[in-house]
Symmetry: C2
Subunit: 206 residues, 2 copies
Amino acid sequence: MDEKPIPDIVVGRLPLYLRALRHMISEGRQLTSSQELAERLGISAAQIRKDLSHFGEFGKQGTGYNIDFLAEQLERILKVDRVWNMAVIGAGDIGSAVARYQGFANRGFKITLIFDNDPEKIGRRIGPFTVHNMDQIGTLIKAENIKVAMIAVPTAYAQEVADQLVSAGIKAILNYAPLNINVPSGVWVEYTDPVTHLQHMTYYLD
Amino acid sequence: MDEKPIPDIVVGRLPLYLRALRHMISEGRQLTSSQELAERLGISAAQIRKDLSHFGEFGKQGTGYNIDFLAEQLERILKVDRVWNMAVIGAGDIGSAVARYQGFANRGFKITLIFDNDPEKIGRRIGPFTVHNMDQIGTLIKAENIKVAMIAVPTAYAQEVADQLVSAGIKAILNYAPLNINVPSGVWVEYTDPVTHLQHMTYYLD
């Protein structure tokens, strides 16, 4: 086991490995190899072996990886062998779609709160949730000890909302607004912006 | 100008630079530096200078970058100095949110078609679009010469839909389904899966 900090780019690939393994499990599979993972993911087999070797010895030369075991180990490493409650800020089209999204279950996350500042939306139901007033962010997030939040508000409000979330004790923010937000050290932000993916691909088109 | 192929990881960062520059333009700014971009993006200034140097000389030592000029050059390089029409497959929560999303305009993309296979949804309107029957994918995408599509169908159908899109001439697919899909060489796929971002962050939480 390597005691040096693991490069963040390696950590960022672990969820992709876990997703591919979970898919193999749903196919009833039991063993895989770095070669098969490489083909599914478009990452080289050598890179996959090197990435996993940071965390221990998971496979056997010639036998490959036990899928269940490797998936369980990755879940433990990524700390999704538990369920993280989440808050969603913004009950517009994106926030509502996120709140209704079925893909969080069994992957370590559960939405428990949704907020908006629009009087038309506050008090309404979205799926199983009642939309709370954004002035309750601090109180409710602290009361439920939530550490993970998603920002789905218009770009102009994203920084202000991030500041409120940090004050409320949030440590990880997934930002759907196409804007880089500033947070103090010890708080993590990731961005999901479909346009950056699209622009990455059009580079290669004629 | 470097004639070797640019590493894909470098290409993937250009949309982030462009997004930051566009945001500075919206703030009325005219000049920036690799240091300022570094602070906004959490990428080192040296990396940013090196990435941009693959494509030419955009800044002056001591003066920095002209924001408008650099943004225009990046738009040209990423081929988003034009508008790419897009098809969305799946009119569920995610597809509907994507179809209503205002963030594509001015960034090089425009949704023009949306498809579903649910008789309840076909013919209905979502924002400005009428939902088309998925059996029309080939005909309509070819007729409109669309090259870019987004898959927002349940995971079990993602590969089948990808195959139809490739047959229809699609060259770039943004996949919202948490499943790796196989496409032939010359077709590009990117994934947007919020859970991989969340799992990346929980690695660092207690």
